[in-house]
Every structure is written in C-alpha cells, then in structure tokens.
C-alpha cells in the first residue's frame, strides 16, 4: 500500500484527436508538439507539479508508444518520486479478457485499484487536450470550502462561440443548476474546461454504478456527471479567467501557437514561478546568420536561420536556408526549408524537407475565394519537391512533386 495521498490526478491521454488529421496519424493528441519545445501534455503535467500534485496517472490508449516514451519516468517534470510520481496506465488484460477504455469514465473505473492504493480524499480528472496554466490546488480548496462532491472548472467564452461547448447554468452560489451540451441557442456562456475535482468516495460509487448500467456510454460528460446532478449531489462551478485553448483542430492548433507571439494574449511561458516543463532535446544554441531576418517569432535550440522568419514558431533543429521565407507558420523539429522555398500559413511536422522554390500554403489576401483558405499541413518526414505547391486547407502525408513532373 502506498502512502496516503490527499489528492491525485488522473490525466486522460488516450484520445486520438482525429480532427488534427495527419498530425495524429502516429501519435496521440497529447503528444502533439506545441510552442517551439513543448507537447500538449506538458501543460497539465506541469500544472500538476506546480500545484503540488505529485501523483499522476496518465491513461493512454491510442498510439501510446511515443507518449509513453516521452513521459518516461517523469523526471523532466520532477515526477520521478519515491512515493507517487507519474504512472502510465494502459488498458491491461484481466481475468475476463482485455478491455479497451470504453469511455472516459470507464478508463477511470478500470483503474480504481490504482487510485485506491493511494487512498485519496480527492481526485482531479484532467485531459491532455488544452493549453492553459492553472493552479489546481486553488480549485481543490474551493471544492473543500463548498463541501462539494464534484467541482467543474468553468470559463466564460464569447457568446457567439458558446454553442461549441458543454455549458453550465449556475445558481447564485455557483452551484450548478443545469447542463447544456453544445446547444444551438445557448442560455449561458459558462463553458466546462474538462477539469474536474471529485471527492473520491463519491466518484467511486458513481463509477461502479455507471459500469453496471448497460445503457451508459461510460463517459463523464454524458453519463456520470448528469447522473450525479440528477441525484442531487453538491456540484459547483469554479471560475477560471486566464488563457485556455482547446487545440483539437488544425486551425486552433495553429492559432494557439501564434497566440504566443501576441503580447495581448495572456499566456506567458517565461514566468519563473509557473514554469512549463518539457523533455528538452540536446541541441546547441540556435544561430541567426548575417543574411537572416527574424521578427515576431519564437525560435528554439539547434535551429539555423539564414532566411526570413516572421510570425512563426520554430522548434529545435530547424534549418531555414538563405532566401527562404517562413511566415505565419509552425515548423516542427528537424525540418529543412531550402533556398527560395516559401512556407506560409502552414504547419510543417517533424523532419520534413521543403525543397528549393517549393511553396506551402497561401496568405488569405491572395485568395480569390476566401472560403478555400485554410492552414496547409505537411506531415512528418514528407518531402515537398522542387517547385511543388501545397494548397491551403490541404494535408499531405506523402511526398509531393511539382505538377506535371
């Protein structure tokens, strides 16, 4: 039996993230690179450590290899602990056979034994899909103050976007009166962030009951939380009012990266009191040459810049050759943009090669039909041949050659 732990976190990292297209072909969504040196999962993991939660179960399922490898023993996040620390929890074989995680609630249900080992009072449920810096400990204190069974982190979103979210209608004391899942006519702009604090004894009961209900899809949002509400459990919303972004689509991933370059956006990764930790690649400092022009950009170690870079995020070991242009783009580790090539309004995954004179993406101003505009995506290891063109909104995961060649 492990030492008693007041609060532990369970991080749901099994999602495929199918709306990220070829970027999640071989990796789970939480392993998708973000912000020049991070992966999405670095945010919830760093938040846990910074909040004083040092026991974290990471539930993986879809394409777990790279994610498992990335997390390793958790040392990068200071989560290699004698007591607690980070644990990868994959579905495992049981007497009645192997069962995949059927839904988010089922994933936690299958790991009740893991949680019980620590005998916690509270469990924080997180997902690996969002970019935000949050002190879960403050939320936990709020949960205790309210003597709640469940507390849901909530964010006020612009009314026009509200219909994309799971919404909450609140009473004056911030207790939850009603839930609305992606309604056409929203009556609230208070959206759930997918961050929950549960009193473990309560959640445990509901998970067991939910598992026995053959009609349940075993999902937190659809089944467990509505059931708790229906049974009259004490449920509260906790207001979060800083930067939070779902990076579930190509466009939102692109935007969330460029947000880092916008001084008006409230996501400061340089704050020494709330560092975002990551597994740092071993690379020398980056080099900006005599011929380079770099503005409004983020550049990471090992990169070499000889061309123009504007409004872009470059990961480690990227090369931009002389006369090449990279603008409004995200370029992941090891990619080479050769002489005279242009990468604009694009996401280029790891180790791709953009050959001389090739063009990836197009600016919205250049489009005759603005509806056809969108971010262009080049997959990992893809070679975009000399003079070839990758159109806006397209995703290429095999080599591209110039038309007619």
């Amino acid at each position: 039996m492990a030492r008693k732990t007041e609060c532990l976190a369970m991080l749901l990292a099994g999602g495929q993230g199918s709306r990220l297209g070829i970027l999640t072909k071989n990796i789970a969504k939480p392993a998708v690179p973000y912000g020049g040196k991070y992966r999405i999962i670095d945010f919830p993991l760093s938040n846990c450590v910074n909040s004083g939660i040092s026991t974290v179960g990471v539930l993986t399922q879809y394409q777990p290899l790279e994610l498992n490898d990335y997390i390793g023993n958790g040392q990068a996040w200071d989560l290699d602990r004698a007591n607690g620390g980070v644990h990868i929890l994959s579905p495992y074989q049981q007497i009645k056979g192997t069962e995949w995680y059927k839904g988010t609630a089922n994933a936690i249900y299958q790991n009740i034994n893991f949680i019980d080992r620590y005998n916690p009072e509270y469990v924080v449920i997180l997902s690996g899909d969002h970019i935000y810096k949050m002190d879960y400990n403050k939320m936990l204190n709020y949960h205790k103050e309210k003597n709640a069974a469940c507390t849901i982190a909530m964010l006020e979103v612009p009314w026009e976007e509200a219909s994309r979210f799971g919404l909450m209608i609140l009473n004056d004391d911030n207790s939850i009166r009603e839930f609305e899942e992606k309604p056409k006519e929203p009556r609230s702009n208070k959206a759930s962030m997918g961050v929950y604090v549960f009193t473990w004894s309560k959640l445990r009961e509901y998970l067991i009951a939910d598992e026995q209900n053959p009609n349940s899809s075993n999902d937190f949002g659809k089944d467990v939380i509505p059931k708790m509400h229906q049974d009259g459990e004490r449920m509260f919303a906790y207001l979060f009012d800083s930067y939070w972004k779902d990076v579930g689509t190509i466009d939102s991933l692109w935007e969330a990266n460029l947000d880092l370059l916008n001084p008006k956006v409230n996501i400061d990764l340089s704050d020494p009191t709330w560092k975002i930790y990551s597994r740092t690649p071993v690379s020398p400092p980056h080099y900006i040459s005599e011929s380079a022009k770099v503005q409004n950009s983020m550049i990471s170690e090992g990169s070499r810049i000889y061309g123009d870079v504007d409004y872009s995020i470059l990961f480690n070991d990227v090369t931009v050759e002389e006369g090449a242009e990279v603008k409004y783009s995200i370029v992941m580790p090891g990619t080479v943009v050769k002489k005279g090539a242009v990468v604009q309004y694009a996401i280029v995954a790891e180790n791709a090669v953009i050959e001389q004179g090739a063009v990836v993406g197009r600016s919205p101003e250049e489009m005759e039909d603005r509806d056809l505009w969108g971010v262009a995506v080049v997959g990992a290891g893809v070679n975009v041949g000399k003079g070839a063109f990758v159109a806006p909104q397209t995703q290429v995961d095999t080599d591209v050659v110039k038309e007619g060649e």
Binding site: G36, S289, Q295
Partner: protein
C-alpha cells in the same frame, strides 16, 4: 573497448587564474561558455559519450557554482546506483595552501583512484574545449601498446604555466617534451587529456611522493619520456584552449563560424548540460539579429550582432549589442548599447548607457552589477 573500463578524473580548478575575473566566484569548470554551457560540460560529455560511468571531479576552491551545475550528474546520465559522478573536495585544508600543482591534487585522491575497479584513468582539465572520441583514443592507446597517451593539437600553444610541448617521433610516439610557458608560434601542445593504466598512475604518484616531487608535468610526464611509451593522439576537428580573457572571448566568437560549431556540437557525440526549462527565444517586432548564437529564454527586441547570448537574456527595444558575450539573465535596457563587452550573469545595463571595450580588450562587467 569502450569507456566502461576507464575512471575519469577532472581537474575543475586547473588554470583558474588565467581568467581570474570569471573564476573569482567559480571554478574553471563552471565558467559559462557558448550560450548555454559550462566548460566542464565538454569533458563530461566526451567521457559519457564513450561509455565512461565513473567520474571524479577534483575541486579546490570556489566550487559552489560547480556543485550547483553538476548536481547529482543527471544531465550526463551519471546519476547511478553503481559508479556515477563524485565531487572530490580537498582532503584537508593543508592541501589548499600547498602549490597549485595537479600532483598535489592527485595525491589527495589516490584513495579514490585506487578503490575504483576500472583499469584505466583518464585525466582532463576544463579549459580545453573539444569533442574528442574517447573510444577511439583508448583503442589507439591499446593498439599502440602505449603506456601513456596524451591528446595534443598542432598550432599556437597557449601561454600557460606547465604547458607540455611535444616532439612527435616515429609511429606517433613522443620523443621529447618541453615544459613551461611556450613562446613559439607553432608547436604540438597538450590539451591535457591524458590516458594511462590506473596501476601506472598509482605507481608514478607514489614515486613522486617518495621523492618529494612537486610537478605533474615535469616529474610525471617529462621525466619519463625515455622510460615509458608516451603516445601523442592528435585532436581532429575543432578544439581550443582558453588562456586569458581575450582568448575566452575569441573562442566563444569562433563558434559563430558554423563549421566550428558543427565540429564541437557533433550530433553523434552531443554535449550535455543542465536543463533550465526556459521557453524558446522570442524575437519581437523591432528585433534585428545578425550572426549570433542565442539560447532559449532570451527576449530580443533590439539589435544584436556578432554576439553570444546566454539563457534568459533580455535586449530591449532600441538597445544595441555588438561583439559581446551576455551571460544568463542579464538585461540591456532601452537605447543602451554595448560593444566588446562581457557581462557576467544577471547584469543590468539600464537605459541610455553606452559601454565599450576594444577588439583586443573586452570590458568585463561582474555578476549582478547594475549600471
């Protein structure tokens, strides 16, 4: 053979006095270098890249910053249950008072060396920077049945005490050794990376103790040229030895030549350092950077040319940094300019200041100074 059978010994204080400004508060080994490294990173990385699993770091004084940097050896994968990294402070205070020679230090750690189960010992300093394939070094040592193998470089030797200058004879063996402060333009000079059997080192040091010898260079190496087979192993690729503030500056600047950086930061034999978890560098709307090396955590809104910026440096709008080395967490505020300046860590140059050194004499600004 791999390095598994070698114990590494690093002299972290050797030649401290040649860059006394930088070593006033630290050891040679913990002197910041090349945007994100400390000098000891090169020798430690060379060792672990060859599979060496046990390293003793000898310290004499000012080793707080070194301890802070190397910690338990984790960044070099030297945090082990068996073997790993050992910091070896002076055995007694008497030792510190004695002469500065390596022989004195070796006498103090003879027990550590003797207790090691490895058959070979590799001795290194920190002021020579190179990416040496130590696996090749030991294979060459064995293939040539050498007693001692010393890594050397051909070029202008450093004007440092006890520098070893070699004549290399047939088959690459050392035929003559000069010791002292060299005054020649070109020679084969030692990079002070020395490999030999542990038993031989023990024997030589014990002899030295019995005879009251005092100089490692003269009494261990030079004295034995005729008796032992001393092989010269030429350092291939880029290497440099720091001998003064001017050369510290020059060697940093040499890395702006990407061919030198490529050699030193060889992708197959990476150089490891302590991780700081800074965000990537941010270039603002008015940034103008040319021919510079920049580390993570920098925020640049001004002009930077021919310079080396360490982690967390801020260059504000209108500030101009030219031909300078700016260490960790320093800030150059609005409309200030520096040229031929070396700032130590956490220096603040407030707005509208202009500081300038000269091409052959850089202005050094001490740690945490506010100007």
């Amino acid at each position: 053979m791999t390095g598994k059978n070698i114990v590494g010994i690093v002299f972290s204080n050797a030649y401290d006095e040649c860059i006394s400004e930088l070593t006033e508060i630290r050891t040679m080994g913990s002197v910041p270098f090349a945007s994100r490294y400390r000098l000891i990173d090169f020798t430690l990385s060379n060792m672990v890249n060859a599979g060496i699993e046990k390293v003793g770091v000898l310290t004499k004084s000012h080793y707080q910053s070194l301890m802070d940097h190397v910690g338990n050896g984790k960044p070099w994968d030297l945090s082990r249950k068996n073997e790993g990294l050992f910091i070896l402070p002076p055995f007694s205070t008497n030792e510190v008072g004695e002469n500065n020679d390596k022989l004195t230090s070796l006498k103090g750690v003879l027990g550590f060396i003797s207790r090691s189960k490895e058959e070979y010992v590799l001795l290194t300093d920190c002021n020579s920077i190179a990416n040496i394939d130590i696996e090749d070094l030991i294979n060459t040592h064995i293939d040539n049945s050498a007693d001692i193998t010393i890594v050397y470089k051909n070029g202008k030797p450093p004007k440092l005490d006890n520098t070893l200058i070699f004549n290399i004879g047939y088959y690459g063996f050392v035929s003559e050794v000069k010791v002292g402060v060299p005054d020649v333009e070109n020679a084969n000079y030692s990079l002070n990376m020395i490999l030999m059997r542990k038993s031989l080192l023990e024997k030589l040091v014990n002899e030295a103790i019995n005879h009251n010898y005092t100089s490692f260079s003269r009494d261990i190496i030079q004295r034995n040229v005729g008796n032992l087979n001393i092989y010269g192993y030429e350092a291939k690729g880029y290497s440099a030895t720091i001998e003064s503030m001017e050369s510290y500056f020059k060697v940093n600047m040499e890395l702006l030549d990407i061919a030198n950086s490529d050699d030193l930061f060889n992708k197959d034999r990476p150089i490891y350092t302590k991780v700081r978890d800074d965000m990537p560098a941010i270039y603002g709307i008015s940034s103008n950077v040319k021919n510079s090396l920049v580390a993570d955590g920098c925020i640049i809104d001004g002009t930077v040319e021919n310079s080396i910026l360490f982690r967390g440096v801020k260059v504000e709008k209108g500030a101009v940094v030219k031909n300078s080395i700016v260490m960790q967490d320093s800030m150059i505020a609005q409309n200030s300019s520096i040229n031929y300046v070396i700032t130590d860590k956490s220096v603040v140059i407030t707005s509208n200041k202009a500081l300038s050194g000269a091409e052959n004499y850089q202005l050094y600004i001490g740690k945490e100074t506010v100007i």
